[in-house]
């Protein structure tokens, strides 16, 4: 039932998630990219396990950094920055962190229960109605949602999406060359281009580089003289959480529902739960301006509930609805696995995954809560150096991954050629480009079939 390799992947996911949450700006996407070369032999279950452990655990540790340092690792950490930091200043940082952690576990379990209850109906619906037309509509909806919801400008996003889409057409022979000036692509000089641009160097130049440049600016507020201390007995932590249990339940339901909306994920669910709880608090006159624990618990509970439900479109249909899921899907493709309900539900893989989900969340709670005291170590590290080290490590991994594919120079060349474009993207939302790059083949396939079925 529990194999050593699976345990290893779950454990590695927990550790990577812990680190990814602790280092502001790194996030799950970058962490997944960092470990990508080590996942090339992993099975479908192991990939999903690693990913689930990574995303779940990063929510635990992410809120810790946001609470103690006031730096949002990701958009989903904003409520923790707003309320957690105030509570920390009031000397209640330990209670804020423990309540957020306990809420996260409760949220995860409620979402899992909701998924298990609705699963048979969902699978039946998909088996009967999931044809190419519906798939095309979902892909269109997913593409439009990232263009509309992410970044600063829809026009900018359209340009980025188009660019990402077109560069992923290189080497795709069923796309007419005229469509993307393919006659100017030097296929004869560089026959490697027939294989298309490799994912990893594209990610590093067009996502990691601009993201690291963006994150660099966040560290202007990265100062905290106050040390994290926790001498409060566990029973008090639990008692405090019980007082906020209803907020936690509300957060769970909001998070579970929002998880199904493409490309909004934890950032929207957390902020929506936070806003709703704050509204209730203000109406009941219980909201505390100097740090409101109920709002924080609701927001942090919502995080982990979303993690479970947002995995479902990927598990059932093979359609990713977050950026890190898009990358996970690319790795699944590379590892020669197909993901949809026939490989996840009908093979009982989902059952294994659910059991691991429970274990991973409990592990996350057990590991992250006591390990919070080590947060003070981060104070001694210059975060700019950390970002530079991440960048250098990524470049090294591009060469390493390229050498595994017998194409080290090609991978390196692609990375270098695209790096200036990545630099220009430092004020834009690079995710839009990357999602288009990864989804291109699915979009083309679905829409060509859609056209042939309905219009010819």
């Amino acid at each position: 039932m529990f194999e050593l390799g699976d345990l290893g992947h779950a454990g590695a996911g927990v550790i990577c998630g812990y680190i990814s949450g602790l280092i502001p700006g790194v996030g799950n996407f970058v962490m997944l990219l960092l470990v990508y070369p080590f996942l090339l032999d992993s099975t479908l279950l192991q990939l999903l396990l690693f990913y689930m452990a990574l995303t779940s655990t990063s929510q635990f540790s992410g809120s810790v950094v946001a609470t103690v340092f006031g730096v949002p690792g990701e958009a989903s950490s904003l409520p923790a920055v707003k309320e957690g930091k105030k509570l920390f200043t009031r000397g209640l940082g330990n209670i804020a962190i423990s309540n957020a952690a306990m809420g996260s576990v409760v949220g995860a379990f409620i979402a899992l229960s909701a998924v298990i209850i609705t699963l048979p109906t969902a699978v039946e619906m998909i088996t009967k109605f999931y044809n190419n037309d519906i798939q095309s509509v979902i892909l269109l909806f997913a593409s439009l949602s990232i263009i509309i919801l992410l970044g600063h400008s829809i026009l900018q996003n359209i340009i980025l999406f188009t660019f990402g889409f077109l560069i992923s057409c290189i080497g795709v022979m069923r796309v007419p060359r005229e469509l993307f000036a393919g006659d100017y692509i030097p296929y004869d000089m560089f026959p490697e281009l027939y294989s298309g641009l490799p994912l990893f160097p594209v990610m590093v130049s067009l996502y990691v580089l601009p993201t690291l440049l963006q994150v660099k600016s966040q560290f202007s507020d990265y100062k905290s003289e106050q040390r994290y201390v926790d001498n409060t007995p566990v029973a008090i932590h639990i008692k405090e959480y019980c007082k906020n249990f209803t907020s936690s339940i509300r957060g769970s339901f909001i998070g579970s529902f929002i998880g199904l909306v493409p490309h909004v994920g934890t950032s929207v669910s957390t902020n929506l739960s936070y806003a709703y709880e704050k509204y209730i608090g203000k109406r009941k006159k219980t909201y505390r301006k100097d740090g409101d624990l109920k709002s924080l618990v609701s927001a942090e509970t919502s995080n982990n509930a979303t993690i479970m439900t947002q995995l479902m479109p990927l598990l059932l249909l093979g359609i990713p609805i977050t950026s890190s899921e898009t990358l996970l899907l690319a790795i699944i493709d590379i590892n020669a696995y197909i993901i949809n309900y026939t490989t996840t539900i009908e093979t009982n893989l989902f059952l294994h995954l659910s059991l691991w989900f429970v274990i991973v969340n409990i592990l996350g709670l057990i590991l992250c809560w006591p390990a919070v005291k080590y947060i003070n170590v981060l104070r001694k590290i210059n975060m700019n150096y950390m970002l530079i080290a991440t960048g250098v490590l990524m470049c090294g991994l591009v060469v390493y991954t390229g050498s595994l594919e017998m194409d080290a120079w090609y991978y390196t060349t692609v990375m270098i050629v695209l790096a200036p474009i990545g630099y220009l993207l430092r004020n834009a939302e690079p995710l839009v480009l990357i999602v288009a790059f990864i989804l291109q083949d699915k979009i083309i396939e679905a829409f060509i079939a859609f056209y042939q079925i309905n219009f010819l």
Binding site: N131, E192, S195, D333, Y337, D441, A449, Q452
Partner: protein, 298 residues
Amino acid sequence: MNLLKKTGAIAVAFSLLSFSAQAKQLDILAPSGNTGNGWKQAVMWHKALVEQGYDSKLHWTKNCHKNNKWIKNNPGRQAMYMLPANSWKSNRAKQNCTPQPHISYDNLVSVLYLRSMALCVSKSINFTNVNDFMKSKKRIKIGVSDYPSGMFNDLSKQFNVPFQEVTFGGSSKTLKGLIAGDVDIIFTGYTAREINTPGVQCFATSKGVNGTKAFAELFPNWKLKNLANFSIMVGANIKSKENLADAKAALHKMLKEDSDLVNYYSKSFIITGADLEATGAALGDFWKTVDTWISLDN
């Protein structure tokens, strides 16, 4: 002195033993995607070679260019790879790439297999015969993957109904398209998957295997009535005739004896290796099949 002699003798004996026990080396190259039947077979061949005691590695070379590059960059490693006739055609047409070195009897390990193509429909339509089926439609939506357009013009003429090809990215997606109701019928390779998928009925195949009608019987004027998936196994960096013969023997042995491979091919009614050679199939037949595929584009 005695001790020294004994030690020396033992050392010589060990070195001789290790020399004689040194495994023969033969890698498998997979110049294809890694989700389909090509990859699946490559994995099984590799496993079978290891079980036969070969020092064997499986290399995913993805496409024709990278496969050629691997062969050029690894002159010291013997390998073999599968080449289906339609892949030869599409590699040249789409990637301007042909296998290097060129295929000849100097590097042909063996003819590998002949697999029927199939026409399948959904069981839910209660298919009885092809004429009624064609008459019941104003337009036939036929699911295919990566084949030239115009393949069904002869069928369109025979039944006086237009055929609309719907292109899916791979045979598994084509099958799913049929189940989901995207298309009325599919033209695909006849494998265990097509045979065993619930709700799918394959009524005709190239060779009329497994109780199906032969294409030639149902569609006598169809240009593709005899077309089947013909694949050969090509050797790479195998420099001596003895080693080529060894590779062929290893391949034929696994095709006959390896339970996974026997299971895989027999379930799909695929004729393989020595059995295929016994029918007289040779490299010339491979080129004839390639020519048929090329003629579809003209």
